[in-house]
Symmetry: C2
């Protein structure tokens, strides 16, 4: 490669197109809790490759539309769910020569958490099939590419975080009761949590405020809460072990 005196000079002669570059995509696991289960959004691929297979929503970084990686993630999320204020977290990047038949490719994975009342699924422009699938049943589906591995990484990250952060509050609707919140934690954790321990932690974290309203049912009404500072999440100094 020729050398140039100034960076300006160098850049004038620089042409990205002369290099072989890996394909770069963003894929995401969009989680919600519905029907007492952790569900993930999947799309049935309308185009080659892996046409007809279920996959995580995602796609190429659009260098025109997207100023940054997270823009790509937000754009995809909006396309599939209509939601534009999720909790979003980057998980890991998978890249190798064999994961996509089109050649060396790399995908940056994110997980998003949304409340089940925030979204009604929308068929997107290419009218793909879109569906919520319980994560426990994804195994039966043979996801495209290495998406099962990606989903597993996202799921593991979420499951780890339920043990030491308040992140799962991002799966809740605007207002909710402590019992509903605990149930959400338990669904992600996959095992019951001791009530007193749970409530102490949430109280100590000081992340909720009472709405003043109550939720009434066929028994004692429960106080309704709201998240204090949406987006911030609290880290505990100890893992929640789960009960029994």
């Amino acid at each position: 490669m020729a050398d140039y005196d100034t960076e300006e000079e160098f850049l004038k002669h620089y042409n990205v197109r002369q290099y072989d570059l890996p394909l770069a995509t963003v894929d995401m696991a969009i989680f919600t809790v519905q029907d007492q289960q952790l569900q993930v959004l999947l799309v049935k691929r309308a185009l080659h490759p892996a046409k007809g297979q279920w996959a995580l929503p995602g796609g190429f970084i659009d260098m025109k539309k997207d100023q940054s990686l997270s823009d790509t993630a937000y754009r995809k999320l909006k396309e599939k769910t209509g939601v534009d204020t999720p909790y979003l977290e980057q998980v890991a990047t998978f890249g190798n020569a064999s994961r996509d038949p089109r050649g060396w490719s790399l995908t940056v994975s994110y997980f998003a958490l949304i409340s089940s009342d925030q979204t009604t699924l929308s068929m997107d422009s290419r009218s793909e099939e879109v569906a919520w699938v319980p994560v426990t049943q994804v195994g039966e589906l043979e996801l495209a590419f290495d998406h099962e591995q990606i989903l597993q990484a996202c799921h593991e990250r979420l499951r780890a975080k339920v043990q030491y952060t308040s992140v799962p509050v991002n799966l809740m609707p605007e207002v909710f009761t402590l019992v509903e919140l605990q149930k959400t934690f338990e669904i992600i954790l996959g095992s019951p949590i001791e009530k007193k321990s749970f409530r102490r932690r949430i109280a100590d974290a000081d992340i909720l405020e009472e709405t003043g309203e109550m939720k009434s049912g066929p028994s004692r009404p429960a106080k309704l809460y709201r998240v204090k500072n949406k987006g911030e999440n609290y880290f505990f100094t100890r893992l929640m072990e789960g009960a029994r």
Copy 2:
């Protein structure tokens, strides 16, 4: 885009070169502890862009040489330090339109931990300058691109992990004493650790074995230890808070 009946047909007509793709690189923070300080390996860039500035070692994914992302990381590490058995962990991926003057680019960052006795720095083929720099002094250097931000992410990840994992053992030489190990933890944490607490944790984790040898100095000799299962690391259920 035309549609094809089979994936085979589709792939035959697929040409990556027709798309605009972001530049894809791997950058790494290679850490070691020397002179009672956490140090990071930096290289002075020999070529444009950012010629002459200090930067994290890294470079383009070589689709010929590298079968996967971590191959790129291992290759770069070997080039700069001669080390080929580090502790390596992916941290995060940074990608946007402005971080590199050549255009939309994305970099996957890793941190590596090596023992200071494992390496003698080697000038690589392009004879760049290479140096260990205490992380506390990197601020004075004006790193290239967004490498300061990348380094910060790597450093934060390492600092978080010292509080709840045994990861820092990967910075130790083959054999070492418990006091030396504690000192390493303290250097990363940036504050002293209570001796008894530290030793209890290490003992409970059951990750070390005695060599049978002692290290003698001008006072009571200390038992020498070796890591039991290199590469595995232990997760504690509580954070180490640090003393005083």
